[in-house]
Amino acid sequence: MTQYSSLLALIPLLPLFSALILLFSNLPKLGVSILAVGSVAGVAFISLFLNFIFWQQSDFILTASLGTWINIAQLKISFGLYLDPLSLVMITIVSGVGALIHLYSIGFMYQENDFKRYFTYLNLFVSAMLFLVLADNLLLLYLGWEGVGLCSYLLIGFWYQDRNNNLAANKAFLMTRIGDTAMAIGLFLLFTQLGTLDIQEIQIKAHSVWSLNNDNNTMASICCLLLLGGAVGKSAQLPLQNWLPDAMAGPTPVSALIHAATMVTAGIYLIARNSQLFQLAPDVLYLVALIGTFTLLLGASAAMVQTDLKRILAYSTISQLGYMFLALGVGAGASAVFHLMTHAFFKALLFLSAGALIYSLHHEHNIFKMGGLLKKLPVVAMSFAIGCAALASLPFTSGFVSKELILAQVVASGHTGLWWAAVLGAFITAFYSARLFFVVFLGQTQLSPNAMPTKSMSLALVILGVLSLFGGIQPEGLKALMPQLNTEGLSTLQHWLPIILPFIAISFAWWLFKTKRFGKPIVSSFLQAIHQLLKSGWAFDHIYQTIFVFPLNTLCQLNKDDLIDSFYRLIERTSCTLHRTFSQFQNGQLRSYNASLIIFCILAFAWFISGELIL
């Protein structure tokens, strides 16, 4: 086992060094591509190799250390890496999907002047993400966590000359930062309560300190809530979800890698990683499930009415992440991670195909300006179709396997209400996937593509397409590591409804499409209001703007000149006024000096006289 430790250490370091070399070197574009893609591909091969080695073993643990970080009194934190089935799945996804997207990016970004900067950020991102998933303590995980946030910020604002991109980047960073801060407080709490930040130790100590039946597990709940705060921010769940649609301002491969396949799943990973801790707080777990359910409905409903290609996909990502949260909440961590994996495949595929479309169509994002592209861009259309099918969880796709598993687990956990909501969500998902595909690829041709996807792009699309179709194999190691519910005893309805429903949704969408009801202006004002509400993602932006941003902004603007300083300025002004008043007396006029002397005499005598009179 130990012989693989150095291999493990290499995993996050390889892209990191590649990023550093890119940062300081002056390579031509070809060199940049080779280095950037090579490093991530190397990591992908290493993780595949590790997969191969550990496939049969269900409870292996591989550790490596890159040295100590902080060591003060009780606080001992090292750069320790920890590989178990869960993190193995994650690194495989990250590096595999990452490598494909790197490959794809070569073609997509080749015209860009800042080619090198792009790949530097991308490599840095992969490295940070790998640190996140491999960290053996929460602080290192936090490092990776913030690192991916930073790279996401940089990549969203990659085209920095456009203010909107920067605003979207700022929004993404700040909203996730809110969650991150909650998580940081969670870290402090965990450390003060348990005296350690090592993830495995936390799981063990938590069980000894807060047992489930004990009364004092409110502390555990608070810890979990705070960690959940971080997860919610990163994974774009309910209160903090509205940064993700805006984050689509970045280059499309970035959306694919960061905002669909990997970074946003960090929240899922965090909860899955600490699943034993979360088991101590059933209330919080239920909250996780609730958040997941509401988010999946919200995301799906908002996706129905969007017109921007990438926004549809962004909302669908929010919705799919909701499914994962739901799975985590009902205690089916393994299925959540499984869905995470399949989602990574098909969502990356969808985004990359969308990227290819946008690339071919002059950066056109509006789906209603596309149409009839099936024949023009066959590869893209095929891969898009596969992606949509997986998203809609049609049978024989990877999405089908994982989503059915989640739904079955929800039933098994006994939360029937949540199950119905999830099924409704699945219906909507299928509906908007179908709408998306029909509108873009069928019907009238409106824009003809002016550029064909390059070979590297097509290659990535094909590989991801295959994975989306056949990637529905649940990793064995997960089942042992994570809780899995017994799914026997489903009723017929519960078994068949989720399978049939997507077809109904697709037929409905087809009927609407054929009768040309998509994209028509809506007449009824009530419906229009709802349409607007959905389109703005349930108006969360507006609410936050009114409740938080505006008051804070106003408050700060009011105090722009520093209220406290004005106190000192008041002192200054008072002494100035006094100075001016007194210097009035010193006017250089002999007669007024005389007069003041006389006045003083008069007053002094008056004082004397009054004293005499009183006596």
Partner: protein
Amino acid sequence: MSLFILISIPLMGGLLAWYSERFNADLPKKIAVISLLMCWLPLIPLLNSMPFDTSALGTSQWLINESYSWIPLFNIRAHLALDGLSFLLIVLTLLMGLVALSSAWHEITKRTGLFYLNLLWTLAGVLGVFLAIDLFLFFVFWEVMLVPMYFLISIWGYEHRHYAAFKFFIFTQAGGLLMLISLCALVGIHYQQTGILSFDYIILIQNPISGDLAFWVALGFTIAFLVKLPALPFHSWLPDAHTQAPTAASVILAAVLLKTGGYGIIRFVLPLFPDASIQLAPFMMFIGVIGIIYGAMMAFVQTDLKRLVAYSSVSHMGFVLLGCFALNIYALQGAVMQMLAHGISTSALFVLVGMIQHRYHTRDLNELGGLWINLPKLSAFGLFFGIASLGMPSLGNFVAEFLILVGSFEHYPKLTILAASGLILAAVYSLLLIYKTFFGQTKLPHDNKIADTNTKEWCTLISMCFILIYLGLHPQPFFDLVPVTLMKLSFIPADIGASL
């Protein structure tokens, strides 16, 4: 003797630089560089034994201890001593002195000799403050560092330099006066209680004074240091001074002068007044937290780039205050680390602003924009240091803030949560800075004369980057240097985590 030599080198170098101006206007800066480099010489024996043997340190706090009689009537001694904490800060001072010289190199063209005289004397004063162990000597150096700084601001500053310089001087002088009074009171009370008349820290620390008056004396000292830090109600000199000071002075101000406040609290207030510190702690931490949030909120609305950075300083130094009074080994370590990291990251930002001002003659955020297009390297550095100031993990600031918050969470969770919200606000203003300055469309006319960073600037900035990264990824050597000092704070149980 080496410590006295260390202080006298910049003093002498300053005089020499002043005198040399009449021969050649370029000579002063060269002399300044040479004398600053020579300051490292007395430290070489220490640097050689760099991973200090902590077991050797365990017996005595002081690495070097030198004492001479000065004013025997009052038993005032010229007593300098160096321990891990002051060693770190002296290294920081010397490094930042070099950075300041680098930023002044082309910026200062008038009366160069006088400029470098003042610069070097300020540095000498700061070195003295970090080394003086006799309280009276400490006070003398405390004043020595102020006066040249006043001249630096009021002669070579920008538009409203006189106002800013006056404000700086009056605030710090008022603080210094308060300190002098408390110092005399401390010595007097100590004399009454023990019969020993001494200004010597090492003697005073052995019998901390007690009684009601001790609280007030401690408060006097604390306020004197708070002004310098600067903590909330006394912060308002800082934005003005920073904004108007020339870049080199801003660097010195941010990197070193502010640190004397934190140093004073750790070195003097906590060990000399253990009971009073415990009484003061909640209040001071509250001030710290308010400072964090208030500074961040103020930074957020500023349109002057330097003012923004100055207010961010207020916010960051709030963390130092929080860490000092958390009375906990993590927080104290964090506070020391925050002083180092803030010293580097903020002064780097000032250097950057200086470069931008030098190139475009404006610091107005509304006029700047899109610098990345023409100055990618400079902007990349700006991005880096902006990110550093918002507390990105893997950089020094994060380690410091994390430790401070961990330490203070133990006893004051609510305050800590409030302070943690400062992290969000820090992100707000840092992103604003980056967004308004480097991103977007360029608004200023660009001519080809405006070049990206030259080699000297690049080297200065890149070395600061590496120091920050080193602090963030491998802070352990720095942590190992100071615990002896911090453990001396007797009321901090050495086995702090044992109760868990």
